[in-house]
Assembly symmetry: C2
Homo-oligomer: 115 residues x 2
């Protein structure tokens, strides 16, 4: 992969951005999420502005579908597209791998930190 001026590299950054990872992870349950519920699931640690920006980037890449429900008052739901599901699957697999290897990683950290 090239470093600069490369569309693949930009997409990698969208998918692996802090909130990109987390949003894709939550949406990977296959459901439709309202903005407020999604933000709550992220423990409100992410600002509204940052989550909006993250979802917009993922929508532009074709990973997230934004569905405006024609109700009063209108509300918006977010869900993964099949393409987004493909990207999210890799992040979920990585998260599972980290979870499974957490003891070994933790041991390495303790060895590194011990004088």
């Amino acid at each position: 992969m090239q470093i600069s001026d490369c569309p693949e590299r930009a997409i990698m950054e969208h998918v692996t951005s802090k909130w990109g990872v987390m949003a894709l992870h939550v949406l990977s349950d296959g459901g439709s999420w309202r903005f407020s519920a999604l933000r709550r699931e992220l423990e409100n640690v992410v600002s509204e502005k940052m989550l909006t920006q993250t979802l917009r980037t993922l929508e532009r890449d074709g990973f997230v579908h934004r569905d405006v429900k024609p109700v009063i008052p209108p509300h918006v739901e977010y869900a993964l597209t099949p393409l987004g599901k493909g990207a999210a699957n890799h992040l979920v697999a990585l998260a599972h791998w980290i979870e499974a290897n957490q003891p070994e990683i933790s041991q390495a950290q303790q060895r590194y930190d011990s004088p």
Copy 2:
């Protein structure tokens, strides 16, 4: 995965950090890399300080082995550990997936951007 105060989450951030992704990707060729060669492979876009910090974090997690060669002048080589190989495999798989789906992603971006 929990959002805050969670060791798995911290490791996910190390692995998916901008230069973490790139360093693991380069090292995933299985070879040993001198610092300067690794930095050159990253097109010198990353500062020495940032690359040092990235490699130190990955070394602490047990993903990267830092080998100080007892020669004069001494030099240092970096390589993936088996554990690091496991993490890197997921990133390489994601990169391949992005590459394979780049046309579809690009089309989605064009649709999004068209008025």
